[in-house]
């Protein structure tokens, strides 16, 4: 099943890349200048303070509904492909 192998290879490469670019630099930052850490900390707190709890909750709901919407769409399309395929093969 080359499709699965290709997909697995791509997912693995992307995973390694994301880990290397997000997680790995954080392991080194603690030793490095405090300025960068301070800036990172300050800016994230600022962002959170600027938005209220309600706004964060609203955005999360929006996120879940949009992701759910596309997953639902995918499921329906998958069913449609199957129903059409059986029809054509008959």
């Amino acid at each position: 099943m080359p499709n699965r192998k290709i997909f697995a290879a791509i997912v693995l490469c992307v995973f390694v890349l994301v880990m290397g670019l997000e997680w790995l630099p954080k392991q080194f930052v603690a030793e490095k200048s405090l300025v960068v850490t301070e800036q990172t900390l300050k800016t994230t707190i600022h962002e959170e303070k600027a938005m209220s709890e309600k706004e964060i909750h609203k955005r999360d709901t929006m996120g879940y509904s949009i992701v759910g919407y596309f997953l639902l769409l995918s499921v329906l399309l998958y069913i449609k492909i199957h129903l059409q395929r059986s029809k054509v093969n008959e």
């Binding site: 290397g20 596309f70 395929r85």
Partner: protein
Amino acid sequence: MNFKIHNFNILLYTGAIMVVVCLLLLVSGIFLAMHYIPDASKAFESVNTTIMHEVNYGWLWRKIHALGSTFFFLLLYIHLLGMLYFGFYKHGKTKYWYNGMVLYFCCMVIGFTGYVLPMGQMSYWAAQVITSLLEYIPGAGEDIVLWVRGDFSVSGITLLRFYTLHIVVMPLAIALMVLVHTDFVKWYATNKLSWNRKGLHIQKVERFSKHVVTHKEPKPFFSNAVLKPFLACTLFLALFFYCVFFHDYLAFDALNLTPANPSDTPAHIYPEWYFLWMLQLLKSFFFDIGMIKGSYIGMASLVVVNVGLLLMPLLDKNPRRIPAHQRPYFFVWFWTLVVSLIALSILGKLPSSNITLWIGLFFSTILIVLFFILPFLSKKESHAKS
């Protein structure tokens, strides 16, 4: 019941998904452009205050735009490497490869110019460093730098011309190139514009038959060939919006949240992730070889790799268009390339230390050597196989 879908492979659909992402970038870009001010002193505020906090859903458009560009480059690399793997740059398909490489360079320009626009610390210094690189072009280097920047250093003038490039020139160029790349122009000219006595928009079966064609059972409006890319797109969009809402840090660097300060270079500058391997190539040669300075070797190596990728059809001497898992030498070559690119990207972001310098040098040398040995490797392979 058979639950599998025939030939549902991500590599077949990277193109369609990229078109969807381009549309998302276009729409979000339009709403961003309505509030962005391309002035050196006002740009940062227009993005980080007006768009992010004052415009309704401004934060959504910005996140879609930033993550869209990240995912676009991810898909682009997957597509490029996939085509490389399956040999889809060989006879019959060379024009798509060249066209695609031009698209690749256009996309790099649009990505780079877009990143400069918010005028954060990282944006400004990325622009400053990369435009300074052009100085090293032999001959007219310094003039070229002045001509690109429009000023002695990256300033409001540079910002304006990057903005024009980003919203007008590059989108048009990319749109036209994509139409050519997907053969849309050729398809339209050959299938929709042909005229004969039977008229336009006639079914091919009917057009070329000498008899009256009896109508058969109507086929579904959306064929499976169309539905499978749709399915790939919806699955991708689910992943995409999941990242937009819950993992947006993937596209936002913390350092870019401070306004640009031309007199304060941050300790650790790096471009967006899709340029990191190039940055590492430039940084890798930290010593001089005889008369040639290390930095020159670095730049030359960048040119070598990009030109090597561009000229793949000429470098790969094996004429058979078969996948890499059927070509043992090329298989090793390909995965060495992928591993080197990933390693260089990761190293590009890490702070410089002794280990990273030597590992970087190792992988950079491998990358350059790969392109030089490919002709010999592929020739050997084509003779070895019967």
